[in-house]
């Protein structure tokens, strides 16, 4: 972990950090990774990864279009909407 990797991670996470935060987080993440890296010492060849605790998988339901009925209410929580759409800064430059 170093400041270059941290900058790349920040870009993926879509947030920025000031210099003091960066310094602190590089140190923190180094410490955390040192602890986490013990997982690499365990032999796990041939073991199936477990992604979910429910063994019979997710429940299935009929594949029919449905609405939650909350569409209008959901939009009341946005800072800016117009005609049923969310308004954002211009995405496509002229």
């Amino acid at each position: 972990m170093n400041s270059k990797i941290l900058n790349e991670l920040c870009a993926h996470c879509a947030f920025t950090l000031n210099d003091a935060e960066k310094e602190r987080l590089v140190a923190d993440l180094k410490l955390i990774l040192e602890y986490i890296d013990q997982v690499q010492t365990v032999p796990t060849d041939g073991i199936d990864p477990l992604v979910h605790p429910i063994s019979n998988g997710h429940l299935r339901k009929v594949d029919e279009p449905e609405t939650s009925g909350h569409e209008n209410l959901n939009q009341t929580e946005s800072v800016e909407t117009a005609e049923g759409f969310y308004v954002v800064p211009k995405v496509i430059e002229p």
Binding site: Y35, I36, L50
Partner: protein, 477 residues
Amino acid sequence: MDPYQTLEQLRQLLDSKQITAEELCRYFLDRMAQFDQQTNSFVSVEPEQVLAEARSADKNIDRGINGQLTGIPVAHKDNFCVRGQRTSCCSNLLSTFIAPYDATIVKNISKDGGIYFGKTNMDEFAMGTSNQTSTWGPVRNPWDLSRVPGGSSGGSAAAVAAGFVPVATGSDTGGSIRQPASFCGVTGFKPTYGRLSRYGMIAFASSLDQAGTLTRTAQDAATMFQIMQGHDPRDATSESSSNNKSVSVKHPLTIGYSASLFNDLDSDIVARIEASRKTLEQLGHKFEDVEVFDQDLALSSYYIISCAEASSNLARFDGIRYGSRTKSAASIQELYEDTRSQGFGDEVKRRLLAGTYFLSNNSPENYVQKAQKLRRMVYDLYQELFQNVDVVLAPSAPSTAFRLDEQLDSTDMYRQDRFTVPVNLCGLPAISVPCGLVNELPIGVQFIGPQYGDELILDLADRFQKETSWHLQRPKL
């Protein structure tokens, strides 16, 4: 009026008209107004709305329309959506978010007559073990105001311990119900994954998150569980009610016990857990030595999986659909970055960065797949273990509540969860019950059951509490 009455006792008071629901709610509101400035366990309460609901409950009681919770106040952790109420996850990013619908468990409690009392404080997005990462300030433990209540459901645990409400909901991703229950001297129940709907509970790590309760007694936890459970088609991981997989309740039990869990614990804590073992032996239960998975490896696996899932789940908070948004952003990227930079606190950023690292090409090994393989090993070990024992006994937390000003680094803080995370990795039910006081601070013991052994561990905890009085101890406010 005694603020520490059980649901059954409150039901009797209400049904026999010794007290009205309005009087009961007014009593709890007054108590909270008097003492919560000290604990900061609530982040939003609307007294007029509580009293209006209580008056409506009184009319229902007069008409004989009674649920088990009719007229009884229930608090919800601030990550459960309650229609028309601020649901902030104690994050600055959602500090203005008003939920447009009810979470299913909120709806189930309301249907049974429970009165929505308010939202309890928590660690931001449920990421923490001390309730110090909330944007609304830390919660203080009612037993000692200089100490933390545990986390992330610290507000719910403190509110029940302080006698502000008889019951509160919580969520448990890696111990967030059981560890604060231990620190605050209350009963914390985390059911089997899938038994309670996650619909409307703001996600942290979806394959680990589970709703549950903080209550005075195991009997109250059982009552709440019965009311809150049921299949929910809106949650694809909600168990079908027709599965009928419940493990039968029986007595006496064979209880697994691993000495390796107690190696680095304070001798006073070990003594309290040993005393619990003796109590259970006197009740006729047999103990068998078992081997459990290495705690630090299980914790590392948990940390990788939870951070990876969180980095995906929290991508939705972009400033466009919910909560606050930076007004001055000139581009869409700037809007995302400014909103998230200002919205998320340090601990959330730390975990999102770690999760993104685990998922990214930067990592030297495939961390997530390695963690999932370890998860399989933990799961298989517990499956095998439950062939020989009915329940496993374990500490709930490695210490009593620590001081707010104590400097713990990130890994020390994460190691608070080392006794609780295996349960979440495997989707097991577990309950923490008070088992003693150490230096006048409560400590809990944990009963872990096999998948769908919820009723089994609730029954064991109830029998334990009938023989002990630790759950009746109260902090002095």
